[in-house]
């Protein structure tokens, strides 16, 4: 059985890179006693997949990982730790959440655990978009009219950019990958960006492109980036009742757009209950 886990990353833990977060969770799962499934072969590894890597320095409340559970183990030969997952308690979403939360350090919190329906794509393959809240580090000096200029920048029909990829450089339209951009009253910026494996856009890339377009060089390390949510594209698939409600009632956490022939309906990787 597959389980999706939503977690947050904050405080000092923002300095831990993606690979180390994976290692952290491998060890955390072992400490928790949760019966995770292992791959076959001489050096078996835990079956675990992460949605979208978060850059070092960023915080988040919308990180996701999937794990696959093994069959319930036979009687434990060694007594489990206090607060650890107990097979006797059976499998429940809240039981798994509590067992995992009990072994976390300050800086990563388990926000939600959900069993995945059969046939659901894994977290990494599902990622379509991510939303961010960006603020400027204290003391950052910005051009006085940057907000109007940003609105104008986003108001363009097209924003042609050159994006560096592993294979070289490629010409693309940044605009069609920015699904939403909004200036908040407190001077922070909200963005919903393409985060799919083929078209991932970093929020820093958007702002660097913007400031470059107005001839201003943004000082290094001036952006503080917080990921709010990671989305999948529900497309034309029939949504369950709860998901439909979500789209109707909480537009801030979802987005539905019609682009050409294809409908894009973004829903969080875990639907709110």
């Amino acid at each position: 059985m597959k389980v999706r886990i939503r977690f947050s990353k904050y405080g000092a833990l923002k300095f831990i890179g993606h690979l180390d977060v994976m290692r952290y969770f491998q060890k955390a799962i072992r400490r928790s006693g949760i019966p995770i499934a292992y791959s076959e072969g001489f050096s078996p590894h835990q079956i675990m997949s992460f949605a979208a890597p978060l850059s070092v320095g960023h915080t988040s409340e919308g990180e996701y990982m999937d794990i696959e559970l093994a069959d319930l183990p036979k009687e434990e030969s060694y007594p489990p730790k206090e607060g650890a997952y107990s097979p006797q308690a059976g499998l429940s979403e809240s039981g798994l959440r509590d067992a995992l939360q009990a072994v976390m350090v300050d800086g990563i919190s388990i926000l939600d655990v959900q069993f995945l329906p059969a046939g659901e794509k894994n977290a990494m393959a599902s990622v379509a978009a991510a939303s961010y809240l960006i603020s400027f580090r204290e003391g950052t000096i910005l051009p006085s009219d940057w907000q109007e200029k940003l609105t104008a920048f986003y108001g363009q029909e097209q924003i042609p950019v050159i994006k560096k990829t592993k294979k070289g450089e490629k010409q693309m339209d940044l605009k069609e990958n920015i699904y939403e951009l909004e200036l908040k009253e407190n001077g922070t910026i909200y963005m919903l960006l393409n985060a799919s494996s083929g078209g991932n856009i970093k929020p820093s890339f958007v702002l660097e492109t913007f400031f470059e377009s107005i001839g201003y060089e943004l000082p290094a390390f001036s952006l503080m980036i917080h990921r709010l949510e990671t989305y999948k594209n529900a497309g034309n698939q029939t949504l369950t009742c709860s998901a439909n409600q979500l789209i109707d009632q909480t537009p801030a956490r979802s987005a539905s757009q019609l682009i050409g022939e294809e409908e894009r309906r973004l829903v969080p990787l875990i639907w709110e209950r």
Partner: protein, 636 residues
Amino acid sequence: MRKLALKDEILLQAEKPARYIGNEVNAVMKDKDSVDVRFAMCFPDVYEIGMSHLGIQIIYDMLNQFEDVWCERVYSPWVDLDKIMRRENIPLFALESQDPVKDFDFLGITIQYEMCYTNILQILDLSGIPLLSADRKENDPIVIGGGPCTYNPEPFCDFFDLIYIGEAETRYRELLDLYKEYKAKGWKRRDFLKKAAFLPGIYVPSLYDVAYNEDGTIKERICLEEGIPETVEKELVKDLNNTYYPLKPVVPFIQITQDRVVLEIQRGCIRGCRFCQAGQLYRPVRERSPQLLKHYAMEMLGNTGHEEISLSSLSSSDYTDLPELLSFLIESCAERRINISLPSLRIDAFSLDVMNKVQDVKKSSLTFAPEAGSQRMRNIINKGLTEEVILEGARLAFEGGWTRVKLYFMLGLPMETEEDIQGIAHLCNKIAALYYETVPKEKRTGRVQIVASTSFFIPKPFTPFQWASQNTKEQFLEKAYLTRTSIAGELNQKSIKYNWHEADASVLEGIFARGDRRLNQVILKAYEKGCLYDAWSEYYKNDVWLSAFEECGVDPDFYTVRERADDEIFPWDFLDCGVSKKFLLEEWHKAKIEETTPNCRMQCNGCGAARYGCGVCTERQTMDVTSAREQGGEAL
């Protein structure tokens, strides 16, 4: 929320910011206002190295069990952050509280290898603590050293207020209580140091002076305070089943050198190899009970979530209950998918069977440590390992499917001849030839791979070779060249790969190993001239070191190439590690006539450690001499 000592912008510039943030699983947080003593425990090297060290985890666990103490960790900032901290005047901080080290009561520094001496000065300097003990004021932390290099503390003794000789588990409580009394009663710092000098195992360098002969050797040691002990005896844990052990070791976020549960099965070694310092310092060998170790293993795996466990000891094959412990671990780790790593196992039918169960034979290599190429040389160093035993181990390994063999040797051993060095090549060739004899053509998957590595021998204090002359850099390199050409001349040379160590750093290590108080100024000078991270070859600056010696008027050769007279007073003679100088001298003389000494389980040789009344010294010697001799090969 905990505030970090370094701003985000600085951490984001650092190579691996996770080195500096603390907050790891099992890191201990306390309220600084509710403890009496704040202790900063430092390993003066980069985080990944320091965090891999078991000793620090033991001390950290022990001190934090004391309710009135909060022990935190400190490691050397890497060169990138070092520059930023100096430029921006950021004081060095401890990982847990992120508070400046200078605010602590104690700064403990473990000294594990000679090449970290300039890093000690970096720690003091970045902390804002005067480098010399003599310059420290009442409010500076008490700087205390420990670890194997303190068995000759003289080269760095000016930088320390106290030096703890021996195993930390025994005397810290008394020392901390004395410290609390000093604070409560408002004594002067020097009065505290004087009182500390009377605690067993505590050496206070500033209370002693040394007089030298005209030839530079030591004339005598002078006690500067009435009644302080003339010798300092090492501390040791008599019963390893009844002491501290970190069941909740700190689990780092980033990959470190030793990223696994470490189970210390025993301390000390019965073997008595004459080049080996650890084999003398940690006598007598003391074992932990297998019941306790099984409990520790499961607790530690559960508390850390590590996916690997490793046994730690100087010679695991000598652990009495190894079969029982290993069969338990193999069974319980298999069901949890935990790997077992088995360093320092002798290669024989038993160990090959075990290794076959715990690792992929096709991917792993086997390691032998003959240390010398000829039987004559192995007798001189008292390495009780014969060519027959090595070849038998290799044959069994080849039959078991292994095709990669690593061999460790030393060059520059006392009384070494060209034939001994050529013996290294012959032995490698015989092992390669044995593969082609043992494994029929149709079963071979290519060539056998023999990797021979040599390190340069450095005489260490408290070993029978402490009297020996160390080779010069030129001799070292000639010997490496001879090894290389000898291997190239062997029939199976294409199956043999040869690696050798750098010579410059080996010379410096030798100077520090047997150095005296006059080296303090040289280390200080080299540090001021920019030497740091000398253990890292990319940062080692040999020319700067040479000029530091020259500017201080200290002759490096005095400490290395000179063969010492039997009756010379050594800088470390005032320490008592349990093994008598008389025994070491007998061993030195036996080495010269190529005579071997049986191991501690075969018979007691009267080294002096029996007076502790524990460990192997209180076991009945039941092993018969011939069967013990037959146990030879070794895997690391």
